[in-house]
C-alpha cells in the first residue's frame, strides 16, 4: 500500500470539506437540487456540531471542534436557515443552557462517549479492509490475472430457482432484489456526422463502479456489520434504481435493476468506440458495482471473491449482449462535469481496475474520448484526488494539441469549439430522447437480428 501523505490539520480538513462539497455540487444542474445537496451535506456535519455544543466545558468544546474538522465551517452550521425570523430560536437557546447545566455534572466517561458519538456522526465508518493472514493483496490492480481458459466457450442458464439464477460458468445471480426501472431507449452519435436518428434499446457496454459505501474489515468478527452494510446498500440501490448489478464483499452477485431497464448509474458521461459516441450512459451501459470505495488516492482493495464474481459476470453479460471489450469501461473514465467541461466528476475506478484479470484491454491507456472529442479538461480539485491523470488523458491532450497545430489555431480555440459540439450534442440528445420517450415506434428500434431480449 502506498504511504499516505501526512495528515492535514483538522482546520485544513474542514476547509477541504467545503472544497470537495463545492466541486461535486458544481455538476448539479438543477438549482434546487444543488441547494438540497449542499445543505444536506452541511447537515451531516451539523449533527456532530450539535453533539459537541452540548458539552459543558468550553475548552473541551474547542478541542473537539478542531478535532472533528468543524472549526473551519462552524459558522456555516449555525447560520439561519433561510434568513426569516425564527421564533423558536430563543427556546432552543434556553434548552441549550439547561442541557449544559445538566451536563456539567457528567463524568469523564460520558464525555468520552459523547465524543465518540460525535466522531461517528461526523464521519462515515470507513475502515481499511483487513490484511488478515496476508490473503488480500495491497491494491486491486496488483491482483494477478486468472489462468487462461477459465471461461467456458459459451455461458448458459443452468437453473432458475426461487431468488437465484445459476449460470454455467459458476456465476450465481441473486434475483430477489431485482426491480424494473424505466425502459432503455437511447440515441447514439456518429463521431463525424452527429446524431444518428435511430432509437436503441439494447445495452451496448458495461460500466464498472464502486459503491462508495462504508467498508468493514473482512473478518469473521465483523460478519454482522458486513452483512448489514450490504443489505442497507441494496435497499438504497433498489430504491434509487442505481445499478444493474452489485457484487458484495463476499462475491455475491445481486441483480438490482433488470437488464431490460436503464439504471441511474452513470450521470453525465462520455464514451466512444469504433466511431460511435455515447453520451450520458445510463441507458446504453449496464452498471456493475463493486462494494468498495475510493480512499487514499485509489480504489480500496476488492476481495478475491469479488474479482472472480466480477469476471464471471462480465463474461456472461458480454456474451449475452455481444458487448465488445472496448465497451467495458470504468465509471471514473467516463464521468464528466458538463457545465465546467471537466473530466473526473466521479472518480470510481479511475485508478486500479484489474483489466487484465477481467480479460479486457487497459482502458487507462486508451485515449480519453471526453478530452479528445470534446475538449474537456480538469482542475486542481481533480489533481487533489488523482495527482496524475491516467495515460489516456495525456494521449488525448496530445491529440488535441496536434489538431490545433494542424489547423493553425490555439489549443484553447480547439477546446472551446469541441466543448460547444458537446453542448449541442447533449441538447440534441435530450430533445431526441424526449421525442423518443413520448412516442417510440417499436419497429424503428435498432436491434440486431436474432439477438436475445434483455431480462
Amino acid at each position: 500500500m502506498k504511504a499516505r501523505a501526512p495528515a492535514a490539520s483538522a482546520r485544513q480538513r474542514g476547509f477541504e470539506f467545503t472544497h470537495a462539497l463545492e466541486s461535486v455540487s458544481r455538476g448539479i444542474a438543477d438549482p434546487a437540487a444543488k441547494l438540497k445537496f449542499i445543505r444536506g451535506s452541511l447537515e451531516k456535519f451539523h449533527g456532530a456540531d450539535r453533539a459537541v455544543s452540548l458539552l459543558p466545558l468550553p475548552g473541551v468544546r474547542r478541542f473537539l471542534y478542531r478535532w472533528l474538522s468543524l472549526e473551519g465551517i462552524q459558522p456555516l452550521l449555525t447560520g439561519k436557515g433561510l434568513g426569516g425570523s425564527e421564533p423558536e430560536a430563543r427556546g432552543v437557546r434556553h434548552s441549550l443552557l439547561v442541557a449544559r447545566a445538566v451536563l456539567a455534572g457528567m463524568t469523564l466517561v460520558t464525555l468520552v462517549a459523547v465524543t465518540g458519538a460525535a466522531r461517528q456522526l461526523a464521519r462515515p465508518a470507513v475502515v481499511q479492509p483487513a490484511q488478515a493472514g496476508g490473503t488480500l493483496p495491497a491494491v486491486a490492480e496488483a491482483l494477478p490475472p486468472l489462468p487462461a481458459g477459465v471461461t467456458p466457450g459459451a455461458i448458459w442458464l443452468v437453473e432458475r430457482g426461487n431468488g437465484f439464477e445459476q449460470l454455467s460458468n459458476g456465476l450465481r445471480i441473486e434475483t430477489a432484489w431485482s426491480v424494473q426501472g424505466d425502459p432503455r431507449l437511447y440515441h447514439v452519435f456518429d463521431a463525424e456526422a452527429g446524431l444518428v436518428n435511430e432509437v436503441h434499446d439494447r445495452p451496448a457496454g458495461l460500466l464498472f463502479h464502486t459503491t462508495e459505501s462504508d467498508i468493514w474489515p473482512l473478518e469473521a468478527g465483523y460478519n454482522e456489520k458486513l452483512r448489514d452494510s450490504s443489505e442497507r446498500l441494496l435497499k438504497y440501490l433498489q430504491r434509487n434504481r442505481t445499478y444493474h448489478y452489485l457484487i458484495d464483499r463476499f462475491g455475491r452477485v445481486f441483480r438490482v435493476v433488470e437488464e431490460a431497464s436503464k439504471a441511474n448509474h452513470a450521470g453525465h458521461s462520455v464514451w466512444e468506440s469504433g466511431g460511435t459516441v455515447y453520451l450520458n450512459l445510463n441507458h446504453a451501459f449496464l452498471g456493475v458495482s463493486f462494494e468498495s470505495r475510493w480512499g487514499g488516492g485509489q480504489t480500496l482493495p476488492i476481495t478475491q471473491a469479488q474479482l472472480v464474481a466480477g469476471r464471471n459476470l462480465t463474461d456472461y453479460l458480454r456474451q449475452r449482449f455481444e458487448i465488445p471489450a472496448g465497451m467495458c469501461v470504468a465509471h471514473g473514465l467516463t464521468s464528466v462535469n458538463p457545465k465546467q467541461h471537466r473530466i473526473g466528476h466521479h472518480m470510481d475506478w479511475s485508478r486500479g481496475f484489474p483489466w487484465a484479470a477481467f480479460g479486457l484491454p487497459d482502458q487507462y491507456a486508451r485515449e480519453a474520448p471526453s478530452v479528445a472529442l470534446f475538449g474537456f479538461g480538469y482542475d486542481q480539485d481533480f489533481l487533489k484526488v488523482l495527482p496524475e491523470p491516467w495515460d489516456g488523458v495525456r494521449a488525448a491532450e496530445e491529440r488535441l494539441a496536434e489538431a490545433a497545430r494542424r489547423e493553425g489555431r490555439s489549443l484553447e480555440d480547439v477546446r472551446r469549439e469541441r466543448q460547444r459540439t458537446y453542448d449541442r450534442w447533449t441538447a440534441e440528445q435530450a430533445q431526441a430522447d424526449r421525442k423518443g420517450g413520448e412516442k417510440v415506434d417499436r419497429a424503428s428500434v435498432v436491434r440486431p437480428q436474432g439477438a436475445a431480449s434483455g431480462g
Binding site: 492535514a8 480538513r13 476547509f15 477541504e16 470539506f17 467545503t18 472544497h19 470537495a20 462539497l21 463545492e22 466541486s23 461535486v24 458544481r26 455538476g27 448539479i28 444542474a29 438543477d30 438549482p31 434546487a32 437540487a33 444543488k34 441547494l35 438540497k36 445537496f37 449542499i38 445543505r39 444536506g40 451535506s41 452541511l42 473551519g72 465551517i73 462552524q74 459558522p75 456555516l76 452550521l77 447560520g79 439561519k80 433561510l82 434568513g83 426569516g84 425570523s85 421564533p87 462515515p124 462508495e212 434509487n240 441511474n264 450521470g267 470505495r293 475510493w294 480512499g295 487514499g296 488516492g297 457545465k339 466521479h346 472518480m347 470510481d348 480539485d381 487533489k384 484526488v385 488523482l386
Partner: protein
Amino acid sequence: MEDRKDHLWKVAQEAEERIDDLMKAGANPMGVDVGTSKVVAARRKAKEIDSLSELNAFIPVPYAKVTETILTQNQIAYYREGDELIVYGTATERFANMFNAELRRPMADGLLNPREKRAMPVLEAIVNNLVPKPKAQGETLAFSVPAAIAGREAALTYHEATLRGLFQGMGYRPVAINEGLAVVFAELEDNNFTGIGVSCGGGMCNATLAFLSIPAIMVGIAKGGDYIDTAVGAVINEHATRVKVMKEDGVDLSRQPSDKFGRAIRIYYEELVETVVDGIHKAISAAERLPRADRALPIVLSGGTAKPKGFKDLFEKALRARAMPFEIAEIRMAKDPLTATARGALIAAMYEK
C-alpha cells in the same frame, strides 16, 4: 480529503432524483417576492420558471356605475368598498398619473404600511390575483422578507407573521426567505450559492452575504426607489408618482445629467448607493465570525431600483473605495433584476418541499 470528495456523489445523485420525484408528483411550489413597489410570483413550468408581477399599490376612486363599467371593460383590477372603488395593481400607476394623484401603498419601507388602513385587504387582493390556490393543501410557498433594521424588529415580526397568515389562509405552507438570500439562490448557483446578493427595491435595499447558501450577514437599508422619487419630487416640485414614471421612462446614470431632473436623480442615486455600500461594509467589518473565503466573491445586483444604466458602475466605484476583508470577483446585474427575488424564493420553496 480525496476520500470525502467521491463519497459525496451518491448524495448528489439522490438530490437530483428527489427533484425529479417532486416534479412528477405534480407538486407546484411558489416563490413570491412581496416588495414595497411590486409583488412578483414565480413558479416552475416544466423546466422553465414562469413569473408574473403586479404593482403593489392602489388608488380609491368614487363609486359610479359608469366607472365600474369602464374598469370591468378594460379588465382593470378593482373591488368595491362602500361608496369607493379600490383600483389596485399595475393599472393604478396609469390612473394616478392621469388624475395627477399620489398612488397609495399597502407597504412602506419594505414592511406593511402601519399608516394605511387598507394595507391588508389590498395586498390580499393583489396576492390573490397573482398566486393561484394550491393544487394540494400544504403546498410550499416561500415569500421574501427584508432584513431586520435596528429598532424595527417588532414591525418585521408583525409583517412576516401577517404574510404567513395570508398564505396559510390560501392553503399554502409558507416559509419566509430573506430577500438578499433569495437573490443569491436565483443568481449565484454557479458559485454554489456563495457571494453577495443585493436587492434594491422601492422601499428598501437588502444585501446578504452567503457562504454555501448559508446567510452569514444580512443587511437592511431603509432607503430605496421611493426615497429617490420623493426626494427628487421635492426638488423639482413634482409628485413622487410622476417622478417614478419619468424615472422608469429611462434613466442613464452613466451619462452626465443635462437637466435639473437628471441632476437630482443622479445626486440621490449616488447617495443611495453610498448608503447601501457603507451598510454592507460596516456589517462585514463588524462581523465576529465569518467563514473563511479562499476565493474572490461575486456580487449580484437586482431589483427595480438597480435597473438604470450605470447603477452597477456607481456601486462598483463606491465598493472599490472601501477596503473589504475579502476580494471581490465581479459585480454584475441579475439576469432579470425584477424577478430575481421571486425566482430565488421559488428555489427555496422547492428546497423546503
